[in-house]
């Protein structure tokens, strides 16, 4: 089972690399924030998988913290940081 966990974790990591390209592309700050939220969720999944593959239970706690921080970051962005409407929006 452990090798499957590592394989899926690597696949999710490859997903994140692709999403990184999209985050650099933009075009609006909201799109970049959505990438950050995807990073939070995928990072949670990767950490949980690594914990099951032999990393130990502490990684599950880290995954919980990452999930919480992604939520707080998203809310802070929507309520506090996103003020301007970008002109280029397709």
């Amino acid at each position: 089972m452990s090798s499957i966990y590592v394989t899926v974790a690597l696949f999710l990591l490859a997903n994140l690399v692709v999403a990184l390209v999209a985050a650099a592309r933009g075009p609006t700050s909201a799109d970049r924030m959505l990438m950050a939220l995807l990073f939070g969720t995928t990072g949670t999944a990767v950490l949980v998988l690594l914990a099951a593959a032999g990393g130990g239970g502490a990684l599950v706690d880290v995954a919980l913290v990452i999930a919480l921080l992604a939520a707080i970051g998203g809310i802070a962005f929507a309520r506090r940081a996103w003020h301007t409407r970008e002109t280029h929006h397709d």
């Binding site: 692709v18 999403a19 949980v48 409407r85």
Partner: protein
Amino acid sequence: MTDALGTGLLIVGAFFFFAGTVGLLRFPDVYSRLHALAKADNLGLGCVLLALAIDADTLEAALKLLLIWPLVLAASACVSFAIARRADTLGIAPWEKKDGR
């Protein structure tokens, strides 16, 4: 039996993460990208956590894994609502299919 079930759930979860990433790359506006992100959040992580909970050693470890899912569900719903309402307040119009294409 549980191994096969766990592997299947892992593959389904990885597929939903992949679909969410592709949706974020390909969808035209912020509202539809929120929709794509929700797939990765809710179903992708849910399937992965369920697969790991099936394979967990103790009941406590399994419940702790399954506890992450409702947290992410609630957070995803709140963040999606906040971002969509902010985008609407800023006057970003939802994408519509152009005529004649």
